[in-house]
Point group: C4
Chain length 278, copies 4
């Protein structure tokens, strides 16, 4: 990250910028590690507070730690706004919004009851963890994965639409066949059952009782069983493609000495860009 | 779609044809969007009507909206027949039958009870949504998927036959081992259980209780676990093949005029085999 | 199938052989179709007999049909032995044993109670169905599938061994953590639970209740979720390989005119077998 | 395995070394097979002892067999230490620790209750089985699998992190929507439910009851259904790559001496690029 130019307090802000946003210096790494632990601990405390036994016994500890973490994150948020050259860009960025949402819920509890659970939005901040893992590998792998998913988003859209249409039709059929006795009390609930079945989750809170219903359910299961192959096939094919492309880009051995173009096939004899012999 | 030649009312019908069947003009797009919303709303109203609380409170609204949508779809259906040059072809096409089935159920409720649920067949009309999405991409992706599925239909037929035979044999064995106490009250019901298990749905409404039964069920689960790999493998392999073919077809224009070699990358300017300009 | 040479009644046996074992003549096809329906009906009657309501109402019909089918299959079995040139080879072949097992159970019911359910072994005879489907395609696809499975049998053996070891260790751990209250009453039962969980079947008849147990179960589920990728990957890779090999064998276009060797790569310029120019 | 040089009792230790650690001689194979059966029987006896009915009836048999196996394994462990040239290396190796843990639990039962179940760690020793199966194939397959898994460990790490974050956020949301009545009594428990749902295990011990909860759960299921494609895609792609590499390595000797082109098929006699004899 290139260090920006500031108008006010240029030296202080530049120093803080390196610590807060950077990850290369020792102080920057330390800041990130402390922040990471604060995030993990604050999320853990929210979780444990929801367990009745803990809430009743350690009431004060949860209250104090909650406010400590909130003040810490507020200070961090204000600091980030202060030291950035373009505060607006940061405030409306993904992490800017996450940082704000991580502090707001506790203040809201002063005015309303029940808002404290929003604190879990802090868990999104755990995504910062990848910033520390500067080993390169992780980012490389994540980019292969997200490229593959992005490339297959149209196919997955078509696929999910087809699955949902199937669930809607089968759910309504089962509502007509089974009726309310077996738990199929309404069409939305039957569609819920159909999705539970197609995705092979199978809670069993709603299950067909009649012979005809079980026959239809069996058909739906076999369809779901065959259907699950489709997204897998899509993503597998895209991942294989994404990896192939990356490998091609990386294979610098076959570089044209004339025009510098990389990524030739292994059996290429002439450069496909300038026709020079490889 | 090329505009057809009509005998009667040629001008009116041609104008309407462009609006009703076409998607390129502004009026055609508007017609499709209104129709789409009418379909979504009518399907939603059928679903919500099946929920007891809604049915009791908003009885009149559901009744009125049902007849409004039915009349709208009837008008649309008759319009389509009127403006098509070959009405028979449309009536017996997939969407022609769907359009008829989308209006009939409500009229049937005048004569018989319970027919109203057939209205959900309207959800099939949601497939029209892909007509609006004229971005090309969606149709292209859907064709890759359906080609892959069509190419693997024989393998999937063989596969489902094998799974069903396995379910039949294991279901009967479990019926003999477990007996009626654990829910295995008949062979069809035991086969239903075997399918629930092989497909890894696992409702738990029927579950083995004896040690021998649980051992057999474990075996069946591990088999199902290994078997699920087969359709995935089939479809993955076909999708990869279908994509490869499409890519090849798309770049088939890039043939070297000098040596005739095909299959060049899209960014190739010179033939990689003989260095001639492409 | 070449028609064999018989010692006794050569003409009669040869004629019958063409009808019973062959599928090319009209009589042979008819025989197979009648046999197929008899198998389907006899299996169906065994299934329906196991349903209490049917058994009580149609007691006599089931009894009569059972003996009719048994006598029919006995006649067919004896006929096959009579008309085969090598009776021993048939008797000890896969279908010979299936044919015998399909008739024995009913006779056993004369001497013992409960043997009637073995009649379901008849369902194995449904495999004969593939003999009629002489379209070639089905057999070709089945051979690709079975080749792929055969090629990956060592990997799947290693894989199932690893899964079972994991289930054994996790099952014992859960037995120690949960104890008998949540249904983990013994180690074999806990291993059964572990297999139900790893394979993502999840009946829910046994489920962890303690926090520690649920944490361990979550770990096991995520492992199972990642593990399911392994057999899929193995089979997919083998199917892709099997199809590639078959395609190579079939692609007769690139045949060397000098030595007749097929299966050259598309970019090959010289025959890899005899160095002649392709 | 090269036979080591010993200081004390060189001849005796060398002879024993060949029997205990080796698998090539007849005595070495016999030792391994006896050891294997002892492990299987001791693990089986621990399992059966946990079943209440067996424990009450065969109390003495379990007690005696337990001590017999423990003494046998203790002798084996000491023997291994005695005959190894580098005892420390063995003691701190994977199998050294497993061998120790396989004997300790029984001795611990003299002092504490419940330790006896740790004896199941003995099952890990079954991994020794691969030492006997010196057919080469199994080890080769296992190495392909472990290479593929090792190559995809970064991607799977990123993937599991994403799944866990999703489970955390959705679990908390469901805790807020459903509340304690449907079993969502705390956030950790709701996260447990989310993992049960994403992985498509679906016990059904906790299931949403409200309409909003079921809608969210349906979304989570469809996400889980699409997500399961990701590890499969990763592993499939890696396995395909690992197999390709192995095949390449195996045929890497086939390099054309004239033009240096590699990657010829195994049945190639002439270079496909320059027609020189390979």
């Amino acid at each position: 990250m290139s260090e920006p130019q500031f108008k006010h307090f240029p030296q202080l802000r530049q120093k803080l910028f390196v610590v807060v946003f950077g990850t290369e210096t020792r102080a920057g790494k330390l800041f990130d590690i402390i922040l990471l632990w604060a995030i993990v601990l604050s999320v853990l405390s929210v979780m444990l507070e929801s367990v009745k036994e803990f809430r009743e016994t350690y009431d004060t500890i949860f209250f104090v730690s909650e406010w400590l973490f909130t003040i810490l994150f507020t200070v961090e948020y204000l600091l980030r706004i202060f030291i950035t050259a373009q505060p607006k860009k940061y405030i409306f960025s993904f992490f800017g919004i996450v940082d704000l949402l991580a502090t707001l819920p506790t203040y809201l509890t002063l005015f309303m009851v029940g808002g404290s659970y929003l604190v879990v939005i802090r868990s999104l901040r755990l995504l910062r963890i990848f910033r520390i893992l500067k080993l390169g590998r992780y980012l490389r792998e994540a980019s292969v994965l997200s490229n593959a998913l992005a490339a297959s988003r149209y196919k997955i859209f078509v696929f999910l639409g087809a699955v949902f249409t199937l669930a809607m039709i089968m759910g309504t059929l089962m509502y007509m066949i089974e009726g309310g006795e077996s738990g199929f009390t309404s069409i939305p609930r039957s569609i819920y059952w159909a999705i539970v079945t197609i995705t092979t989750v199978g809670y069993g809170d709603i299950a067909p009782q009649t012979v005809l219903g079980q026959a239809f359910a069996s058909m739906l299961m076999l369809m779901g069983y065959a259907i699950i192959a489709v997204p897998t096939g899509i993503v597998t094919s895209e991942i294989a493609q994404a990896e192939k492309n990356q490998r091609k880009t990386e294979s610098s051995g076959k570089e044209c000495v004339a025009c510098g173009k990389k990524g030739h096939d292994h059996d290429a004899i002439f450069c496909k860009n300038c026709s020079a012999k490889l």
